[in-house]
């Protein structure tokens, strides 16, 4: 009963001094708004990163050749200093035979061994031209496992067949975007014809088009939606023929494990398998393996840490805002000394005076907090939209923000309220 009465008194007080109330709230508004905005942006980025990585395959394990670390060099008694020993040579690469023994060893765990190789630099642009129009492309070779895992939707024609993979035939699949741009979306016009891919350095490669796949924009390649650079898919061996790497090993590959495999331990098994069997006597290189799971974990931890650090900084402005509220409460109590005396003469106890002023400071902080939430959500969503993604508002941060602004109200309201409660009624009544 006293509570609603107190809230009404507080509200009428705020209304009477609108400018002052707003300025007092400003600290709280800015503090809460920045915390919420940071949380919104952070959560959205986390979600985007996760879904992107999920798209790459959460149960992937990436295996790559790495320089042996300094510690290991010391352990093996060979120390060339700095970790760098020499450049990578063909002898250091992972051979087909190694892959074969790996799959034999872990038959039950490994579902796919995915190999890929690009033709040309990713940053230089190759083109397919027709009737004076260009489509930007990138030639990428995939092995059969990779194609099966990726499972791109075939819109017309067919995917590669065994002889394509085995013999490295000059066949390709092009994206529907390319067909749309160069062939007005007519799949039949391109399937069965030969296209010429011209790279930026002038070399060209001809492929026989066997199929059209559906292009899916990945969230990393934003900004070029009207004419995106799409992949011309070719069998792995085709790409290796063009690159003259057909007889070489691999620097890098991916594994997809079966559902029951625990990736965290399996990563170690794969690494040890290579390093014990094939790289123990290599002076400079070894094999490193990481699972997408653990990469995702560490990335998420990193984002959370950044989010936390920024929120703490924003939180400082909340504390400053709280001090502002305390300050204005002290002023207000001095102004209303006589009112406090009158209330005491009319029978208000110390605790009811204290409650009245704490309520007032909580009301200021909660209203400020609510305005801050709207502002913060708005700013956060705007920022995420500007980055080109969908915003995800964190409900928990909103709830926490309301609770936190309440706590600030109580914490910074207590001292002034207590001061008011302890006023001597005679002195308060006599105050002019």
């Amino acid at each position: 009963m006293l509570f609603t009465e107190n809230v009404l008194v507080a509200l009428s007080g705020l209304k009477a001094n609108i400018m002052r109330s707003l300025l007092t709230m400003l600290g709280i508004i800015i503090g809460i708004a920045s915390v919420i905005a940071i949380m919104t942006v952070g959560n959205s980025i986390t979600l985007i990163v996760n879904s992107t990585m999920q798209g790459l395959g959460a149960n992937n394990i990436q295996v790559a050749i790495m320089q042996k670390s300094t510690e290991d060099s010391e352990e093996s008694g060979v120390n060339y200093g700095g970790g760098y020993v020499r450049d990578l040579t063909d002898e250091d690469l992972i051979t087909k035979e190694m892959l074969k023994s790996l799959t034999d060893e872990f038959k039950d765990d490994i579902k796919y061994v995915m190999l890929t190789e690009q033709v040309g630099d990713y940053y230089s642009t190759s083109k397919v031209s027709r009737n004076g129009k260009d489509a930007k492309v990138q030639i990428v070779g995939y092995n059969r496992d990779y194609m099966e895992f990726n499972d791109k939707e075939v819109l017309g024609g067919r995917s590669f067949i065994t002889t394509d993979y085995k013999e490295g035939k000059s066949v390709c699949m092009v994206s529907d975007k390319l067909v749309e741009r160069l062939y007005k979306g007519d799949n039949d016009a391109v399937i069965g014809t030969e296209i010429e891919v011209v790279s930026s350095d002038g070399t060209f490669n001809d492929f026989y088009v066997v199929g059209v796949y559906k292009y899916v924009a990945d969230s990393i390649s934003f900004g070029e939606s009207d004419n995106p650079k799409t992949e011309v898919l070719v069998p792995l061996n085709t790409a290796r023929k063009i690159n003259h790497t057909a007889n070489k090993g691999f620097e890098y590959f991916m594994l997809v494990t079966s559902v029951n495999t625990d990736n965290v331990t399996f990563v170690t098994k794969v690494r040890d398998f290579f390093n014990v069997n094939f790289y123990s006597r290599n002076d400079a290189f070894e094999v490193a393996a990481v699972s997408m799971d653990s990469m995702m974990d560490s990335l998420n931890t990193m984002i959370s840490m950044i989010k936390l650090a920024l929120s703490v900084i924003a939180g400082i402005s909340l504390v400053v805002g709280g001090i502002g509220v305390m300050n204005i409460m002290l002023v207000s109590i001095t102004e209303r000394t006589k009112e406090i005396g009158t209330r005491k003469a009319l029978g208000a106890t110390n605790s009811s005076i204290r409650l009245q002023f704490i309520t007032e400071s909580v009301v200021i902080c909660v209203i400020g907090g609510i305005i801050g939430i709207f502002l913060g959500v708005g700013l956060g969503m705007l920022a995420v939209k500007l980055m080109g993604y969908d915003a995800v508002v964190s409900v928990s941060s909103v709830v926490i923000a309301v609770g936190f602004s309440m706590a600030i109200g109580i914490f910074f309201g207590y001292y002034p309220a207590n001061k008011a409660a302890k006023l001597n009624p005679i002195d308060a009544l006599r105050y002019e």
């Binding site: 009963m1 006293l2 009465e5 008194v9 009428s12 007080g13 009477a16 006589k338 009112e339 005396g341 009158t342 209330r343 005491k344 003469a345 009319l346 029978g347 208000a348 106890t349 110390n350 009811s352 009624p425 005679i426 009544l429």
Partner: protein, 242 residues
């Protein structure tokens, strides 16, 4: 203590700045009683100690020495929160400067003591309306203090003083800030409360003229009672008949 004693003050001393070189005594052992249903005035010049005495009577302050009981309750033994309850239920204050709570309506002002007494919302609103009707303020009860004239404010203040049906109304220069015609109106309300409802009223004033309107005059000078005399009031109707 007699059955019908409302206030009983015995050997009341009040000193300020106790224990410092500036220590001085304002009240030097006052003795007096006020009976139930009496209308008494305490009159004195400024500096006579009447404000200090009013604070003690109003349970806003405690005497340094002496005994004081109000409606049978020993004040000097009461704890702070008991004094709050006592002020709330037993005493109705009327101040010279009205002391209405700004930014709240006349109605809410009258409700305030009932709210502190824990009365329900509906009940206190009805009673506040009734009290405002008694002081003829019904048509202005939704107005805020700064929209009211001095006389109207004081009428609201009297209604507020009556809120918890107190044992005693303590009025400190209630007409001090009003012109004589309005002051007359306010005094008539006090007489009405006294005569029609039998309220015990203690009026504190510096004006001998006003004090003569009461039944008994206690004259205070330099912290001591220097005289008690009967007033010349003969009743509201008698005044009109004059």
């Amino acid at each position: 203590m007699a059955e019908n004693t409302m206030l009983d003050l015995r050997n009341i001393h009040k000193s300020f700045f106790i224990g410092t070189p500036n220590e001085f005594e304002v009240l030097h052992g006052l003795n007096f009683t006020v009976n139930k249903g009496e209308f008494v005035s305490i009159v004195g010049q400024s500096g006579s100690g009447k404000s200090t005495l009013m604070n003690i009577i109003g349970a806003l302050d405690r005497p340094t020495a002496g005994e004081y009981s109000l409606d049978g309750i020993d004040i000097e033994k009461a704890k702070d929160h008991e004094l709050s309850a006592l002020r709330n239920k037993k005493i109705g204050f009327v101040f010279q400067t009205y002391n209405l709570i700004a930014r709240t309506t006349a109605l809410k002002n009258v409700e305030l003591p009932m709210m502190y007494a824990g009365m329900g919302r509906q009940e206190r609103m009805e009673r506040a309306k009734m009290l405002l009707e008694q002081v003829e303020m019904t048509d202005r009860m939704m107005h805020k203090p700064d929209e009211l004239s001095g006389g109207q404010k004081q009428r609201v203040a009297i209604a507020r003083a009556m809120a918890n049906d107190p044992a005693i109304i303590l009025a400190d220069e209630p007409t001090g800030a009003l012109d004589s015609a309005t002051g007359r109106l306010i005094m008539d309300i006090f007489h009405k409360l006294h005569e029609e409802q039998g309220k015990t009223i203690v009026l504190i004033t510096h004006s001998p003229e006003l004090s003569r309107e009461t039944q008994r005059i206690i004259t205070l000078k330099d912290g001591s009672i220097v005289g008690e005399s009967a007033g010349s009031w003969t009743g509201l109707n008698a005044k009109e008949g004059e």
